[in-house]
Symmetry: C2
Subunit: 127 residues, 2 copies
Amino acid sequence: MKPSDTYVPLQCRLVNDVIALVGDKWSILIIVLLGGGRKRFMDIKRAVDGISQKMLTVTLRGLERDGYVTRTVYPTVPPKVEYELTDLGRELLVPLRTLGSWAIANHDRVAAARAAYDARQLPQAAE
Amino acid sequence: MKPSDTYVPLQCRLVNDVIALVGDKWSILIIVLLGGGRKRFMDIKRAVDGISQKMLTVTLRGLERDGYVTRTVYPTVPPKVEYELTDLGRELLVPLRTLGSWAIANHDRVAAARAAYDARQLPQAAE
DNA sequence: CGGAATCCTTGACGATACTG
DNA sequence: CAGTATCGTCAAGGATTCCG
């Protein structure tokens, strides 16, 4: 970005920086999931069925780095690692759920808009 | 995702479907920008400096398809196209700003968490 | 001016195998 | 169990060019 960002002020940097994780498909799911309490690595993996263990590790590392979750290792055999939301993570849950509620409430309108849009476009391709 | 999604219920599909655009770096910026009123293609491009015209076109198409913005073409020479938020788009602005406010208010905490995390990790790499 | 089409690079992500 | 490491794929996105 250049200095000519009059419409995109400094705040956008901050916002984008923080909500970058919102864009990450897995991060939100995991934060909401951990909103239900502390969980082990494999439990999260099973709950978020479809995620690879690599992505789960990477995602959890990112969330830990940003201060949203804590990682507790129990030096037992076999190893046991638990993840839990921090205060910051629990606070993030609030605006996240606001957005989630809006999404659920308005999903039909978006779906309708898409259907209408596609209905307008596809016939033209057949001309 | 498989049918075994007991922890990741149907609602997640809906939510993810809608907030997929939140993940898109440009979509949010553009929606917030259009929150300030109707704008022309090039004005948006200049405002969101750093976006390629390809991505701007693709992003605007997506927002139009989802019913967040309207696209008005004036058949003049040279062409003039204006984009404006729909009611749905203006409503989305609300939860989006909630999240944005949270991001701005807590950016420092995230930055601090990152710094602390990196400070713990980097020295170990030097061992 | 607004946008479509093409090419090309990059890195995100999955699959797999190995370790403490 | 909870990772780390390596490799291969594939599609998102930038740069460029042409069109109405």
